[in-house]
């Protein structure tokens, strides 16, 4: 940790002092001890500061008691209350969460099945099939968005209907781009599976289903949860594909924010964004913890 504090203190120092300090450290640091190079820490420090500054200022200024939100005028939670009382914003938020939950469940199931199939079976044109499966990941989002627009526009289904059926087109599109990601995460987990466990289960008289239920699923659990969280954040975050898929009555949170942003930058949007950021960050940290090596080894 001493290295970090040293690196950070260094940022404020004058250029001259910095060169001197670097030279001094370089004498001490071994040729491959790059983590002791201060200029590398400086690049990292400045980049992280630039990455986080806009996001943090957005979050901080969501509590600012002013509409012209560049100067701090005092603390208020007024804009959270306003965002909460903004019916269309809350509706969009509910829509987004509903879509994300459905997309997560369906894409986790489908993605896990695809992963299991690719892991277990050998079949003709497998390489081509794998390429086909990652297509939604590599195709530019906007191309997929217009494809969804053309498709749902011409089949005329599923449009309208009572809530949440009016969201089904968006859900379908989200599942299409989420489940390949789940498949990749689950397959990575399966790569570490000891096949002898499966054989043992068979030897002990377990059938296909029992082996699946009591051996494979428990092993896959961290991968499934991580994949599900990935799908959840991907769906919650998506703007472009939803923008093309959604009808006028099925607005999601990012699409709503987009239309609000186009008019002006308001603290209300800051407040709503802050809530979404917190949800995403919590989900991400949970996913990362589940995938960390110590956990995976359990």
């Amino acid at each position: 940790m001493a290295q970090i504090t040293a690196g950070h203190r260094d940022l404020g120092a004058s250029a001259e002092a910095r060169t001197r300090a670097t030279r001094r450290v370089r004498d001490r640091a071994g040729p491959l001890e790059f983590h002791r190079r201060k200029w590398l820490w400086a690049v990292l420090g400045v980049t992280l500061a630039l990455l986080y500054a806009p996001i943090l200022s957005l979050m901080v200024f969501s509590f600012n008691n002013s509409r012209r939100n560049v100067v701090w005028q005092g603390f208020t939670t007024d804009y959270y209350v306003r965002a909460w009382n903004n019916a269309s914003l809350i509706e969009a938020f509910t829509n987004s969460l509903t879509i994300a939950v459905v997309a997560t469940i369906v894409s986790t199931v489908i993605g896990a099945m695809v992963a299991l199939m690719l892991w277990r079976f050998r079949f003709p044109f497998k390489a081509a099939y794998e390429g086909f499966m990652v297509l939604p990941i590599v195709v530019p989002e906007i191309c997929m968005g217009v494809a969804m627009l053309a498709f749902f526009g011409s089949v005329g289904w599923p449009s309208g209907g009572p809530w949440p059926l009016n969201l089904s087109a968006i859900m379908i599109a989200h599942i299409a781009f989420c489940f390949p990601f789940v498949a990749i995460v689950v397959r990575a987990r399966l790569a570490g599976f000891n096949r002898e466990l499966e054989e043992a289960s068979r030897d002990l008289g377990g059938n296909e289903w029992q082996t699946f239920r009591y051996v494979i699923i428990p092993f896959l659990k961290p991968g499934l949860v991580a994949g599900a969280l990935l799908a959840f954040t991907l769906s919650l975050d998506d703007f472009v594909i939803t923008f093309f898929t959604s009808g006028p009555n099925a607005v999601t949170f990012p699409v709503k924010i987009y239309s609000m942003v186009r008019f002006s930058v308001t603290p209300e949007v800051n407040a709503a964004s802050t809530v979404l950021i917190l949800i995403t960050v919590i989900a991400t940290i949970a996913a990362v913890r589940l995938q960390s090596p110590e956990r995976a080894a359990e």
């Binding site: 790059f34 099945m113 079949f123 299409a176």
Partner: protein, 305 residues
């Protein structure tokens, strides 16, 4: 791995939902766009598929060619900037002790999970006329002015009569910064993955044999981590090329990219055939980039074999 013939039922059960979903809700829609791109608008709402190439020809008119060209170079510069910033970061992280490694890797990736729209929107607050950057500049200006007044030079208005906010938003500069800001983690991750796997004894050998750090970097480290560099370039360049949100919010009408033109054809102009042709040009560009990468990877593995 067993053959699918041994257990066709299990194979089918596992394969069907995913295949069905992707064929019906992905491949068929894309196919429709592909067919649409050969269509003609016959009235405001009707499109006839006449297998004309007029839409593609129109895409190569100077006005669109210019936007395509600009999208390519804006994306290329943004990708180069990402590479320049991400390489030292990925390099440093891969040399950190394990605990710090996880921490800093997470710190770099975390913004990538935050909604892209929100991150772009956060940049607006930084760059706009009365945003944070101009706020700081104005504060510095006032500070400088009061200093000048204090030393008796106030009446000359050396810093200009009034503070002039810099036009940071709604231009190519803003779009480029936005692209780097949003896509940087895509560059760090593949770079980190290859640098971390790099056998550090090669670097040691090079340094032991008398090469300088710079020479070692360019003749050993960089060539050995080239696969990561290529992956990073592709992962950043492709989404930049197709970006719609960032040029829309940060560039306004001054800095449009292909993504904005495609969106306009589908939303406002209602010219689906032309929009489809443009999106397929974007797809072809993507596939060309991916093919280049696999070509490169293929040649590499041949060399190593």
């Amino acid at each position: 791995m067993e053959s699918w013939r041994r257990n066709p039922l299990v194979f089918a059960v596992l394969a069907l939902p995913g295949t069905f979903w992707l064929v019906v809700f992905f491949l068929i829609p894309l196919g429709m766009v592909w067919i649409l791109s050969f269509g003609e608008k016959t009235s405001i709402v009707d499109i006839a598929i006449t297998w004309t190439s007029a839409n593609y020809q129109r895409a190569f008119q100077p006005i669109y060619l210019e936007i395509i060209w600009k999208s390519i170079w804006v994306s290329a510069i943004a990708t180069a900037l990402c590479l320049l910033v991400a390489y030292p970061i990925a390099f440093l992280i891969s040399f950190m002790p394990p605990r710090l490694k996880t921490l800093f890797l997470l710190a770099v990736i975390l913004p990538f999970w935050i909604n892209m729209l929100i991150r772009t929107y956060a940049l607006i607050a930084v760059f706009r006329r009365n945003g944070h950057v101009n706020g700081i500049l104005e504060w510095l200006w006032e500070l400088g002015n009061s200093l000048l007044t204090a030393i008796g030079l106030g009446q000359y208005q050396l810093l200009g009569e009034r503070f002039q906010p810099l036009p940071l938003l709604y231009n190519d500069f803003a779009v480029m910064v936005g692209l780097v800001y949003v896509f940087l983690p895509f560059m760090v991750l593949p770079l980190y993955a290859t640098i971390d796997r790099l056998d550090k004894s090669y670097l040691e050998a090079s340094l032991d044999l008398g090469a300088s750090q710079v020479r070692t970097f360019f003749s050993v480290t960089l060539p050995l981590t080239m696969p990561g560099v290529i992956s990073g370039i592709i992962l950043v360049f492709i989404p930049c090329l197709g970006a719609f949100l960032i040029p829309d919010l940060l560039g306004g009408t001054n800095a449009q990219m292909i993504g904005n033109v495609i969106t306009r054809q589908f939303k406002e102009a209602n010219d689906w055939p032309f929009g489809s042709a443009l999106s397929f040009l974007l797809m072809y560009a993507t596939f060309a980039a991916l093919a280049l990468r696999s070509l490169f990877a293929g040649r590499r593995s041949q060399l190593e074999a």
